[in-house]
Amino acid sequence: MRTRAVLTSIFASVGVLVIGWQAGSAAMTSTQPTRTSSGTSGTSTGTVLGTTTATAPAASGAADGSYTGDDVNTRFGSVQVQITVSGGKLADVTALQLTDHDRRSVQISNRAEPILRSAVLDAQSASVNNVSGATYTSNAYLQSLQSALDQAGL
């Protein structure tokens, strides 16, 4: 009976390892990107990342080659992304199928239109809580409107 124990153990152990390995491979291939990103009309190229960098959350350990994600329908159209893996690292990202201006189903146009300064000017600046502008340095802050507001509120 000992022989049987040994054989069964080997068989079971190998089986368990194979199942684990298969599960791992399945998990890796299913994490190839299906990014829901939108692109402009026309083609747009992704950036070639430096060869010294790798995007760790992505397919680390995936075999070299190009992987194309699924065609994903986003609110703004369909998007498809292709990544290229080289030397086990992410080498290139390209947005393939890009949303076309004309095919996009935009409900309402949210485009910015010219507007007069006078129409925009609000006289009730007294009720302003915060000021938003291009980022000020710590020094520039001292002369800013925000610092005046802060002084009042401190």
């Binding site: 760790a56 949210n110 910015a112 507007i115 300064r117 925009v120 980022t135 509120g153």
Partner: protein, 245 residues
């Protein structure tokens, strides 16, 4: 109750309904940690070390890698108008780190069950609930005369964040893509629900011009007030309705 502290080369102003020293400490900590990790002005920061080649990106901390992945994500979405990579290839995450910290600070306040607050870091504002005077009202600086405001807009549900980018003052984290034309906008303010989206898109529109502005307004639920180089304004319909309110 307003508190002010210096961080990331600028100044943060926090408004809370009451004195909350723990919350403020927490917020200060968030910014301090990020600065330690991401500041390019400190040679010992993790990002500086990565840029110097002392540490490969793959071996960097999860926070750094996540921030970089996030920045690359936005890089894709803005068709390259926003990029965390400088022309020399080094990584500059200033464009996302500030907003990430503001976002996290907001989550901290939320987790402390504080409902009414505003966080303003160098002109990027995130708010929640009500101010002492009602809605949170944000004044947008006139780029031509920084002592006066262009307008004042109320923030609220669905548009809790505003970020303004300028080509004039602190434009070092905007790496304009290769274009023949000069910058079309001197200042862009973006109102959105998410401070990171607002910040990234404001930057992207400055660097990408009118094309990026159209893409952004078509793609995301935002409102934009943009100032052209000649001083004239462009505004989305939402801004109009906010003003007339």
């Amino acid at each position: 109750m307003r508190s002010v502290f210096e961080t990331m080369g600028t100044v943060a102003s926090i408004e809370l309904a009451a004195d909350e020293p723990d919350a403020l400490d927490g917020i200060r900590g968030i910014f301090a940690d990020a600065e330690k990790r991401f500041s390019l002005y400190r040679p010992g920061s993790e990002l500086s070390r990565v840029n110097a080649g002392e540490r490969p990106l793959a071996a960097a901390s999860a926070e750094l890698r996540d921030a970089y992945a996030l920045a690359m994500d936005w890089h894709l979405r803005t068709a390259g108008a926003f990029t965390p990579n400088r022309p020399d290839g080094s990584i500059d995450l200033n464009g996302v780190v500030k907003a990430l910290c503001i976002s996290r600070a907001g989550e901290l306040l939320h987790s402390l069950a504080l409902k009414d607050w505003s966080i303003n870091v160098g002109g990027d504002v995130l708010c929640a609930g009500l101010s002492p005077t009602g809605d949170w009202v944000i004044g947008i600086v006139d780029p031509v005369d920084r002592q006066s405001l262009l307008c004042a807009l109320p923030l609220g549900e669905g548009r809790r964040a505003i970020a303004t980018s300028g080509s004039a003052e602190r434009g070092d984290h905007i790496w304009t893509i290769d274009r023949d034309t000069a910058a079309e906008f001197v200042q862009v303010s973006v109102i959105a629900e998410d401070i990171l989206a607002a910040d990234v898109l404001a930057t992207a529109i400055i660097s990408g011009g009118i094309e990026m502005l159209d893409l952004a307004t078509d793609t995301w639920a935002i409102d934009v007030l943009a100032v052209r180089t000649d001083g004239s304004l462009l505004a989305t319909p939402g801004v109009r309705s906010l003003i007339s309110v």
